[in-house]
Symmetry: C2
Subunit: 348 residues, 2 copies
């Protein structure tokens, strides 16, 4: 059976490890310290980030990069978006020539506004860059770990690389589909967290389901507009990597980004909300990057702009929601859906 | 102020009437019998279909078609899809030359598989046909009636007709956007009820949120495939009329189609479920039409096919779900998302 290395032992990395090991793959889960690795191997469970899921015997933790990566058919990065750069720096020298490097992190890098695959490409040797691919989609870690049915996409510029990963990862309860739209998949997975923050705010303010549905629809549309401006296929945003992931956010009570939105709407300060969480949800940084990208690309993102102001400029969530409704209401007296959402007119 | 006639006094017709009358429009709500009209006018409330919403003074019920339609700036049909034909036959002779006829019914006609605007066109004089338009989107009646924020689309072949209706209907808490993709809007509004049945089945069987998100994503994709085969713009399905409406179905506990799916999954017989409901949810008939259209157009609709068999051929919902998962899992070992969902490749 094949071997896979997973860099990152938080919930998603652990869940992927459990899912792959159950399938029969030998998985090495890399941890920062030897103590962490020992603890995981001894307890056969990640009690911190994914409690109650017993490790299959083919899943083994190690703090040695060399040991983790040796002989791996794929190296999966499942670390927070803001630490992808430092992690790829750590492992870059150990990467073998034709082994896919799979980014399973959703977000944009602060300051550079770069996608994860771009960050990885900058930190590895040029001849390794074609090995980069991206895994994204609606994926609550617990469900993937418990063999509940999940489906994700794997994107690579070179479809053969994505197909290699598909061969390694696909199983009856974890479907993977390939695509070459790396930009669309990465932007979809990152920007959906901004929408999740907004859905949370709407939820926390007590808006109805009609309003939430309209918000999500036009939120998806503004994400898509930015994506199109950056070279993505608009229809990628209707696939698993964006729409699918947004729907999970709507359904699932376990979305951390949505939770932050709900708490903001209830009047909690961002600082207090974040200090109570083990990780900072990806949407918090992604909103900054999304807004900067929107400005640079000339994309109109009325929801993202207001979510940014709620997070970083103290805008009252109630006023933000009212402003956004007025923005749309004003247009609703005279505008076509395709003018409101420019890519609707150009696509299809 | 303008006048509007609403044909149909169930929940959606009543809610639209309340919303318009609140805005200042004079609304005549047409009922089948004089007793019904008297009851509504006396109680100032539709206790049967939309209890607890007081009628504004500009909303008035009448059983006279002539009185309802006289001087109306728009005639809105909000009756069950299967009775649109007989209703338009009743009112056809009273329609004035340049007054928009707005279909607010979601569904496809049984036997003919026709969209509501096609049914209407067949029953009115040719010179009136350009007046036909369609209103659709995420619209829980109660929320529209209570001035919670809602947004919908209005579609007409001739954009000027849609804009006329937009002028009459739009208000700060009821946004309307226009489009010329009548086919897309009607198919989206009709077919989303098939997806709602499937979401209900998944819910009732206890599937996780990852699985439901994947189901909805690919359900939307198969609807879109049929729409594209029939001449719609694929991106219309990402707008309010389809995606927005599907999201309401996911969020809201009040979706009747989803409820039917949940009960089917719990082992109840379709007959028993339907006999306990005041109306037959639109998805029950639409599934038959959707399947026939898919076969005629050569569209691949694996979920619709299985939902049909659950409804009409006694297929066990558990087996239907397993079959559908196997269908996708089988493809997930070797397939790109764009091959799985052909319009993903052609659009954008």
């Amino acid at each position: 059976m094949s071997r896979v290395a997973i860099i990152g032992s938080a919930s998603w990395g652990t869940a992927l490890g459990i899912a792959l090991a159950r399938k029969g793959t030998h998985v090495k889960l890399w941890t920062r310290t030897g103590e962490e690795a020992n603890k995981l191997n001894k307890e056969k469970e990640n009690t911190t980030f994914l409690p109650d899921f017993h490790f299959p015997f083919r899943l083994w933790a190690t703090s040695s990069v060399e040991e983790a990566i040796e002989g791996a058919a794929a190296v999966i990065l499942a670390v927070p978006a803001q630490s992808v750069r430092q992690n790829i720096q750590l492992i870059g020298n150990y990467l073998a020539d034709s082994v896919p490097i799979v980014s399973a992190s959703k977000g944009l890098e602060l300051d550079t506004n770069k996608r994860m695959s771009q960050v990885i490409a900058e930190e590895i040797a040029p001849h390794l860059q074609p090995n980069i691919c991206v895994l994204s989609g609606p994926s609550i870690a617990q469900e993937a770990a418990m063999e509940s049915h999940s489906a994700v996409v794997i994107a690579a510029n070179n479809i053969a690389v994505a197909e290699k990963v598909q061969q390694v990862m696909s199983q009856s309860c974890f479907c993977t589909f390939t695509t070459t739209d790396v930009i669309g998949v990465e932007l979809g997975g990152a920007l959906k967290n901004v929408i999740a923050l907004g859905v949370g705010i709407a939820e926390g303010l007590g808006y109805g389901d009609n309003a939430k549905a309209a918000f999500i629809t036009y939120g998806l549309a503004e994400i898509t507009s930015l994506g199109v401006a950056m070279g993505a296929n608009p229809l990628t945003f209707t696939g698993l990597a964006c729409l699918g992931d947004i729907i999970v956010t709507c359904f699932s009570p376990s979305s951390r980004n949505r939770d932050v939105g709900i708490k903001l709407a209830k009047g909690h300060a961002l600082e207090d909300i974040l200090s109570s969480l083990p990780h900072i949800p990806e949407g918090i940084a992604t909103t900054i990057a999304a807004r900067q990208l929107a400005r640079r690309m000339g994309a109109n993102m009325p929801a993202t702009e207001r979510i940014y102001r709620v997070l970083y400029e103290g805008l009252d969530p109630k006023i933000a929601a009212t402003e956004l409704i007025e923005y749309y209401a004003d247009k609703s007296y005279h505008m076509s859906e395709s003018k409101l959402v420019p890519h609707l007119a150009s696509g299809g």
